[in-house]
């Protein structure tokens, strides 16, 4: 398992790097409006009405942005949690913890692809 993680390291680091950079860039606007602004009444609720959000999300650009919003944070999260586990004495369990976290990211990514295709 450890050997597989070492071989896959370039892919994992690529997804992690994109998660930190592009994931952060995309999440900021999403959180400002969808997570905080509309629920707190700062922006009108109509902005996130079903028809409008479906229209925004179901075109090619919308699907790519939404997929980025799902997939990239998962990989940033999985890799940083793996590092955290190692730093807190989990070096011996790294192979199993790392594999489990990346498996979660892979499953979430595949579900994310299905989710944006369904739109």
């Amino acid at each position: 398992m450890k050997q597989l993680l070492i071989v896959l390291e370039p892919v994992i680091w690529f997804m992690f790097g994109q998660g930190i950079m592009i994931g952060t860039i995309l999440l900021t606007g999403w959180l400002i409006v969808v997570g905080v602004g509309v629920p707190m009444g700062i922006f009108p609720a109509d902005a996130l009405a079903y028809e409008r959000m479906h229209m925004l999300g179901s075109n090619v650009i919308g699907r790519v942005v939404l997929l980025g919003l799902i997939v990239l944070p998962l990989w940033k999260g999985a890799h940083h949690l793996r590092s955290l586990a190692v730093d807190f004495g989990g070096g011996d369990r790294d192979a199993i913890v790392g594999s489990l976290l990346y498996l979660i990211a892979i499953v979430g990514s595949l579900l994310g692809i299905v989710a944006v295709i369904r739109l």
């Binding site: 952060t24 860039i25 606007g29 999403w30 959180l31 400002i32 409008r52 799902i70 940083h80 944006v116």
Partner: protein, 146 residues
């Protein structure tokens, strides 16, 4: 052409005879000085992982129909959810500021024949893209366009 070497190809098959001190965590880890910031940076991984699944659920429900999406919006009005989203926003800004501070320092002296731009320009470019994308996304999502 020579094939790529395995990343641990140079590792000895059995440990050497030189005695080495057992590894130990540095003083101050995890709660003091730079370690606190470092651990906080890693801990944001939990926020990102949760955000990935929270957005996955929202988009899944958007694909399921109007009732599903409205259910997501109702859940987002829950004070606990708003609190988590505020925490996530703080975490995301913290990650962005720290990463964009580290990014120029991590550049190699040359990328092929090209030298990376000076740190100030690189940082300016990253912040421009971040702020610009955030403004556009906020404007579009909040109903300013379309």
């Amino acid at each position: 052409m020579a094939r790529a070497a395995h990343p641990q190809a140079m590792q000895p098959k059995k440990p050497g005879t030189t005695r080495t001190a057992p590894p130990k965590m540095p003083d101050g880890f995890p709660g003091k000085g730079r370690y606190r910031t470092y651990v906080a940076f890693e801990t944001t991984g939990l926020i990102y992982l949760l955000m990935g699944f929270i957005i996955l659920r929202a988009i899944w429900q958007l694909g399921a129909g109007e009732a599903g999406w409205n259910g997501v919006m109702d859940a987002y009005r829950n004070p606990i959810m708003i609190g988590f989203h505020v925490l996530a926003l703080v975490g995301v800004i913290f990650v962005g500021v720290r990463f964009f501070w580290l990014f120029p320092k991590a550049q190699p002296p040359r990328i092929g024949p090209v030298r990376p731009p000076p740190a100030a320009i690189l940082k300016g470019m990253l912040y421009s893209v971040w702020i610009g994308t955030t403004l556009v996304m906020t404007w579009v999502l909040a109903g300013g366009a379309f």
